[in-house]
Point group: none
Amino acid sequence: MLTSHRRKHILDTLRKTGAIIAKDLSAELNISEDTIRRDLRELAAEGLLQRVHGGAMPSSPAMGNFAARLNVATDEKKIIGRAAAAMIRRGQVVILDGGTTAVQIARHLPSELRATVVTHSPTIAVELVEHPTVEVILIGGKLFKHSVVAVGAPAIENISKIRADTYFMGVTGIQAEAGLTTGDFEEAHVKRALSASAAETIVLASSEKLNAVSPYVIAPLSAVTGMIVSDQVKSKTLAPFSRLGITITRAQRK
Amino acid sequence: MLTSHRRKHILDTLRKTGAIIAKDLSAELNISEDTIRRDLRELAAEGLLQRVHGGAMPSSPAMGNFAARLNVATDEKKIIGRAAAAMIRRGQVVILDGGTTAVQIARHLPSELRATVVTHSPTIAVELVEHPTVEVILIGGKLFKHSVVAVGAPAIENISKIRADTYFMGVTGIQAEAGLTTGDFEEAHVKRALSASAAETIVLASSEKLNAVSPYVIAPLSAVTGMIVSDQVKSKTLAPFSRLGITITRAQRK
DNA sequence: CTCATTCGTGCACAAACATGCAAATTCGTG
DNA sequence: CACGAATTTGCATGTTTGTGCACGAATGAG
């Protein structure tokens, strides 16, 4: 095992899981804890992670405290992200939304996958810089700081010039009558435009979003072609959606 | 076995497996480790791979080391960043380039400053999410991973719709005859467009850039209205520039 | 407070390294 | 083919780097 391999593995694990424990790494890589600690110390010195007692956390210099939110991504979001990433085929053009679940998709893209990712989230763009083969198209506009995505007329105009295969949409609420809803007016507009630019719209529905309603309507459920939910969700809850012809993917815990 | 054959085999293996261990190659090719090491040393000198202890890895310019670059910003870049940030007045619209120096500007913006920042760098955008009062306009386009900035026709079109007060430009080289130069063709185009959209163009010239020349010309020095350099630079070095009517700000170490 | 982990440092040993040199190989030229 | 020059290779040398262990200090949980 090459030293630099080990370091890379540490950083990859950190990006995917959001935290690492020295003892676990030691067991997983068959190497002494001292060496792991040394690695963590030096990676921290390069600013690539932040040390904590017992292990390390991401420092993500480009992500500030938004990083904090990213790393408390629930297991559910990671599972959904992994399932979504697995749906992407070679050569496709996919749209990734802002939001923590979409970040999980980006982190789980297979490293050999040749595809194009369109996104209005600078966070996703920065995340994908490290991916060796994925091409990234960044949608510009006025930055809506709360969600860290570009919005506004310029964003929508640029989106209209794109034809994508699949849009993975994050929402605040998905419910039978109200349809897809979110917490910001501008963001709703952008999501609608993104959906219109994609052949398929797949909603990333972590369980707290199901049957929740937010103030601003993005689109009715007819705009949705698929949903990804975790396998814990009861099929009874999903019945209204599958009745509308929406393909439901139940993401399996590994 | 011919030398060039062996080297080709090394590079092929590297591309295929993503890493190379000197000892393995030695066994596989029935050749001493010394010779392998010599090969690796020379291939590294040609930039075809990156040496690590025990073997080699792909040179992959886009990989990970951008995050590292951000945090090893020299003192010089920090004081240039601080000086640039201090020049921005309330209500102004400023353009921030990609690059490590521009990140320093973003980090030194006074927290009460109400201004608009235009940028084609997702890194800068994410950085400024934490700023309470600055508005951010993100320029989209195809992501150029090496510099982590948006480039291409869509980027330039969007830039043309903006009228900014000041553009803080990062360069790879600034020199009297060649003018402003950088290492990527697309990036040069974008920088030229940004300069055209701003009333003033101020070049961030850390000392290693002064009198350096890179392959792609951004613009002649006539496009420049000001430069920021660190106070260590000799005024003799700057004479050719001030003679052209360029205002030179010498950033003071605190 | 007490106590079990976790950390950091000094140290010893092994692996990987650069360098100089001589033998072996390849190449060019007549 | 012959022969000298240039290159390539392997080995010996001393140096640097990575690893694990020991021990005392620091940290966090109960």
